[in-house]
Amino acid sequence: MEINVRLEKQLAIVAITGSVDALTSGEVTNFLSQQIEEGKKRVIVDLSQVDFMSSAGLRAILTALKASRQQGGDLSLAGAQPGVEKILKMSGFTNILKAYVTVKEAIADLGA
């Protein structure tokens, strides 16, 4: 798994590539919490290159979502592929955060 961040229109776009499971989710949690601590509290997580995510990945997203909102920011998701999209829906995550079809769409809606 790889994680990268870029800034665009005052948004931190965190792109994850690979699988997010119990082995790799800790890295996601740490990376996202570091961004938020650095003041990048408006986050878009780009899931377009994530081929697999388990409940461990959802836990990492939920932790970061709470942290960003506590700082007055927000965390949104973009580009989830069908399998990942299904677990987001099953778990009710799509009711508690914004999930966009593409990163481009997310930036257009949220960017400053």
Binding site: F52, S54, L58, P82, I87, M90, S91, G92
Partner: protein, 138 residues
């Protein structure tokens, strides 16, 4: 005709990707197994094995996990065997998926996903180990 496949791996998080790859290699392209079914199979096994590694072998030397897959035209049967502490899936509380952010607990989704994606879940604890059987109909 049924196809049977089996893999044994150490009960550690590093094995999760190997087990998912084994499911993909075994089941992809089998009649009735589309991308969504394949994801469901990988998700259910990943969650079950994560529970075994985190809870089943907690406080013990890591043992092994055996994953057996039986493919038939009607269904995929996956049996996961471990030798850790037993747990009863039906006694584990399910998460509230309707909860708002403030009331959300960060755990509990693993077993929920197993029940949501599989058509049958059966657990048996014997002298030969704990056997979790997961059935997905095609």
């Amino acid at each position: 005709m049924n196809q049977k496949h089996q893999i044994t791996r150490a009960a550690e998080y590093q094995s999760l990707a190997t087990l998912r790859d084994f499911i993909e290699a075994t089941c992809k392209g089998y009649p009735g197994v589309d991308d969504q079914v394949l994801y469901d199979l990988k998700l259910a096994v990943d969650e079950a094995c994560t529970n075994i590694i985190t809870h089943g072998y907690a406080g013990m030397n890591p043992g092994s996990i055996i994953l057996a897959i039986d493919l038939s035209p009607q269904q995929v049967t996956m049996t996961i065997t471990d030798f850790g502490q037993a747990f009863e899936p039906s006694e584990t509380p399910m998460p509230n998926v309707e909860a708002g952010l403030e009331d959300r607990d960060t755990g509990g989704f693993g077993l929920f996903f197993i029940y949501q994606t599989m058509d049958e879940v059966d657990y048996e604890c014997t002298e030969d180990g704990n056997h979790l059987t997961l059935i997905k109909r095609l």
